[in-house]
Symmetry: C2
Subunit: 172 residues, 2 copies
Amino acid sequence: MTKVILYIAASMDGYIARKDHSLDWLPPAPDDDGDFGYKAFLAGIGTTLMGNNTYQVVKGFGEAGYPGLTNYVFSRTAHAPEDNITWVTKPPADFVRQLKATAQQHIWLIGGAEIIKALYEAELIDELILTQIPVLLGDGIPLWPASTREAKLELLELTDFGGGVVQGRYKL
Amino acid sequence: MTKVILYIAASMDGYIARKDHSLDWLPPAPDDDGDFGYKAFLAGIGTTLMGNNTYQVVKGFGEAGYPGLTNYVFSRTAHAPEDNITWVTKPPADFVRQLKATAQQHIWLIGGAEIIKALYEAELIDELILTQIPVLLGDGIPLWPASTREAKLELLELTDFGGGVVQGRYKL
């Protein structure tokens, strides 16, 4: 079955970015031998999902949408077309429910906080691959803002990548 | 050197208790063979530190202070003496700084959130032993409320206890 996978890094105090969306606290770009499982993960992915805030950050890295993938960017307002991405103005949960029924490969939920919360509360996230970075930021954008949903997770895999970076793969 | 060790369990969304201080989401009391490292940890401890809120919860479990240890309970107001605990009305950071200089065995910082924050910001916590419970609570008392301090952690030990329970031992 096609899965929606939240593959994301967070600080030990649960932030996915600083308040200004910056990611300067992430470890340096990993080399070929230590990519935190990214390449293996990406091989199974056909589609990405992003909120517009996150997309603007990703675009700042010089890449507008992941090449070879279908990249959906959610925004409440209409935008001019851009190469390699598809704007979505529908409510995320409705859209993703339909997408899951037809997509052939797994769906990478990139972020940010707002779309994660919407899809989590709609019970549309199947798997969480959480890379914990050994830093306490003190403040930022939380991965898990307050929610009325409570959920048990099942740990499928635990990897110690060295340097204090630990990745857990959980089934929701 | 005598260390202040924060040995604590948290949900995956970083809560140490529900809003009403309840801990019903913790896994069942572990047996002799699977105590999440508690007995080995306790063997090195001579002193415990607790806020009064946490103490009232611990007392609800029927145990008023850990037998054989010196148990300090912090409160801004004076209290009638109780068996096996010592009330402290001094500011936690001042008290703990003095205690570290004289204590012979390690100091277990039990909680809760308020005293953890005070000692964290005063850079008085030497080690964090964090047991992550595979549950998202949605709301509760956060282990790391917003703070102006930013800190890197060093992972010393990682243990998979099964059932999705993962414990990391970090140097601050």
